[in-house]
Subunit: 321 residues, 4 copies
């Protein structure tokens, strides 16, 4: 695709919501509501809409009953109507557009498309500001919803980590077509980029791509929710323990991005990260991607925990290895 | 009372449970269950039994519907059957005994008595170890009950702070008759001891007396529940805020005992402290009471917060000033 | 000034550093190094350069010996060279420019100007990425400098809060000329905006203006440093206590912006805020400013702490009331 | 040894201090002072005395230069002079006494003895209350010393974990001769007790024995220091990372005792645990030891971290495997 212009920054304001597929819809719903502390905000067909307590929009997660697990469509909000139009044009230039669709409840017209690996995405500008019912009204007016005081109480949908046949090609698409920037990446000794973290603004990552060991496309490594504190992550581990939620690894601190993390599986099989960045943000407008070598990765996470083997064997939906 | 022997230490093992009176029983119950995260464990007559998640006994609080607020009977577990007999004798010598009573559910025979100010108390030895039902079974076998993941999730009943006409006389009773020791106290310029903190073992206080400005007797300043972390106290403040619970003062750190605290009122009007001691314990077997002067108290709490005026005007039950 | 174009967003990437004036240079230096945990990075004339551990640039604070206290020049980094030129033009249009100056060590050419209230500022594009000496090299390559393990260990310079004759006029300047946006503000019953919080990207505020009760101009309310956790703020209070640093108020949570805070005075008299935002960020590109009324402000901070009186009487440099 | 009376409880008030041997005395000293935040309090011969900030006695650690690593003498304070005499008699009855020695600086006459495995110990009653010099005077009078604000700032020496040929025999000695009680233990499928945790009061463990895989005697598994918060442990991991201290495992939460932990090696080779118990205490005077099976231990730590292999291969001093 010659002559394509790289995108300016700040065209995408933020990750809006993500659709998660589950073969265990009732158990998954219980997980998101009781364990993570999300709040149901309507349903439609096979989908239930769920919101984190500080989401200013209608929902953070669209939980959809399906034959198998995995990620459905990821929605991002553009920075302006003009930015939306520019991004649509850029996507169409790359031949990855699907077309305009009616957005989910609370979301205006959305332009659906696919990343090069086939993950479905959409961008939109119009959105309805969440107006909580009386019993969910917060005490402080600069907060979207009352603090749920139930389960982990995650604050927001933080990022999505996709599996892809070619992490770099997909990260490149996020940069070129959507205005993202690479903050960190892993380069194998072979030269292959096996993982790439991209962000849209000061938050240090929003969309992440990891190479899929099965060479499948369109799969999910995990979605992540941010908590307010590291202590919330430690509490989350205790909650998972006593609620019978499978803990895959953590709590510990990632070397990459220095995020404090806990990984669990929701009942539908999807991996969920609970994460806290402490106060880390990326400020430099000319931040140079930090590239980690195989040798550096072999050291494990920040404080020495070895990266768990199942990180390289478990994705959703499951596929034959 | 001449010739009375002072009590050896370690005769009382720990505070067992406390009865709280409320004129708003349903709202108070909601508060303890939904806001603090206690678990109901049966009821009898006008009383509901409630337990914190790491209490090894039947209940931590007996919540009793009543015409007004205040504290009912406070129960303490003796260190052994022999210690129980010795304490009963010591109390009888002081003429403060009421007599043997059938204990609450889960509690064996208890000897009821009054402190000099008239607060009802009981001591007991036999107790039934809590056996959680399946849905409350913890994952780790050294824990009494599953972590509730609801509201503040207080760990234990921590201490009771009584109002009394004469703090020193009552603290003295705890020491002489029950084997407590004074860890800290306030001495006014007049020489009057206006507050006294007593403990039974390494925990730095269990029963506290503060002079009652109304010269009434038998009243309550507050009961306190310990959380696992200071962060839990900060979360508790957010929970109180969005659950409409009145916050009286805090979070802050007490100068006395250095406890990190938050004070709220439960719907029945009783003051509840949520507290965290960090890792502070009293180890010295010959600890000399720390005595705070009026001038020192005037400096406020540890980091400078002035002691709130209502600390000297609000007690339960309310009485004419 | 008719026909001036409002600025697009994202022209300023972030607050770079701030110059602080002190009549007690040695004691102030000890405060920043030993109490806050900043690292000295050279000196020049009457100034010492100091850096927080995760600043990617040369310094976060320029501490300058002076006859009195207050704020010197605040430096901001533009998002690009083109953005820098656009902002210079916008400032010049408004007649507030001073002119190009040689930047501080590590900083390229800077354009100096004044906000309407007279506070000196500069913007720059070129900057030298900090290269730590061996003994300050971090273990993780995505970090600017080793964690100091000394004092509070503040992570970054977070924001500057100026006193001004007209908060709204100055906040308006930040928006119109620099591309900031108002996230929150206080409107008195008289209609006067008495405080305005502006930000450049996802961080919820960077430059703040509060009306100066003395009607002076160019004064400082406080500068703020962010810590990684709320626990760091609690530790900071203990550190301040035992290092003899004056604690003005806190720790507590602001209602406005929900920041967890502690205010102290450094030995030169300037007010320093230590703050932690938990994971709060502003994502909505069309965020509508939250406006607090006098009645709402009268409720005090988030959990009820009354706003301390000295917030309305102490600014630097001191002026006759 | 027939007819020996088991000891009553509460004869030992607490762990006093421990002597640690190091072949790298200067580096070890730097570790304790700069990394852990202990304060030097005199030296004598080859030993330096070091104190944690809330130790009411002269020192918490006696660091002694030696040819190899390991533990020297562990000192415990009796609950009273009478308790001291009773314990001396009980030890002598068991033939494990060494005799009266002059205590370390600040410590009165001490009775030295050995546990059955040969670890040297002493008990004493008289002790000198620490009186801090002016620059270490705390702001709050109920605290032993000013908060150091340097490194990890551990609060106290928490426990000692010995390696022994027969954990149960040594734990039994602590119970029978010293009045300890077993709170938790590991029983292998063979019936062998491979680890035993004993305590003296509400703190849930003070002296721990683990079977030595080398069948050596007198060796050390680790000594542990308590921090005030779990966040302090997370900070400690970052401090270790950037100070070049070897992290063996953690932070994570033990299943046994539920302690939040981090294990590092000090430069002399001794394993050091940094630990936080949250608010956990043992209150039941008739607590039944919690016995963990091999199968339960195979599950790893509380949140699933596998027990690190070096826990079963690294002890001090090193011996041929």
């Amino acid at each position: 695709m010659p002559h394509l212009q790289p995108s300016p920054r700040h065209e995408i304001a933020h990750l809006g919501h993500v659709e998660l597929l589950t073969p265990e819809p009732e158990k998954s719903l219980d997980f998101f509501v009781d364990v993570l502390g999300l709040t149901e905000n309507g349903s439609q067909g096979d989908s239930v809409y769920l919101r984190t307590w500080d989401d200013y929009e209608h929902h953070s997660v669209k939980l959809t009953a399906a034959k198998t697990s995995g990620v459905g469509r990821t929605a991002m909000r553009a920075s302006s109507e003009a930015a939306l139009k520019r991004r649509v044009a850029a996507i169409e230039e790359r031949g990855l557009g699907i077309g305009w669709v009616d957005g989910d409840p609370g979301i205006g017209p959305a332009y659906a498309f696919r990343d090069p690996d086939g993950h479905e995405m959409e961008i939109y500008w119009e959105t309805e500001k969440y107006d909580p019912p009386e019993h969910l009204r917060p005490s402080l007016k600069n907060q979207a919803q009352a603090y749920p005081a139930r389960g982990v109480c995650v604050r927001r949908l933080d990022h999505v980590n996709y599996l892809a046949q070619d992490a770099a090609a997909n990260g490149g698409f996020v940069c070129d077509a959507l205005g993202g920037r690479v903050t960190e990446q892993i380069r194998l000794d072979s030269g292959v980029i096996s993982g790439q973290w991209t962000h849209f603004a000061q938050k240090s990552y929003d969309l992440v791509y990891t190479n899929d060991w099965t060479r499948s496309s369109g799969r999910l490594h995990h979605i992540a929710f941010a908590t307010d504190t590291r202590e919330d992550i430690l509490r989350a581990a205790d909650i998972a323990l006593d609620k019978g939620v499978f803990i895959e690894t953590g709590p510990h601190k990632h070397a990459i991005q220095q995020t404090f993390f806990l990984y669990v599986y929701e009942p539908g099989g999807n991996r969920i990260e609970l994460c806290n960045p402490t106060a880390r943000l990326i400020f430099a407008p000319d931040w140079e991607p930090v590239t980690w070598t195989e040798a550096e990765r072999a050291k494990g996470q920040a404080w020495g925990l070895k990266t768990i083997e199942s990180f390289h064997t478990h994705g959703t939906p499951p596929v034959p290895a």
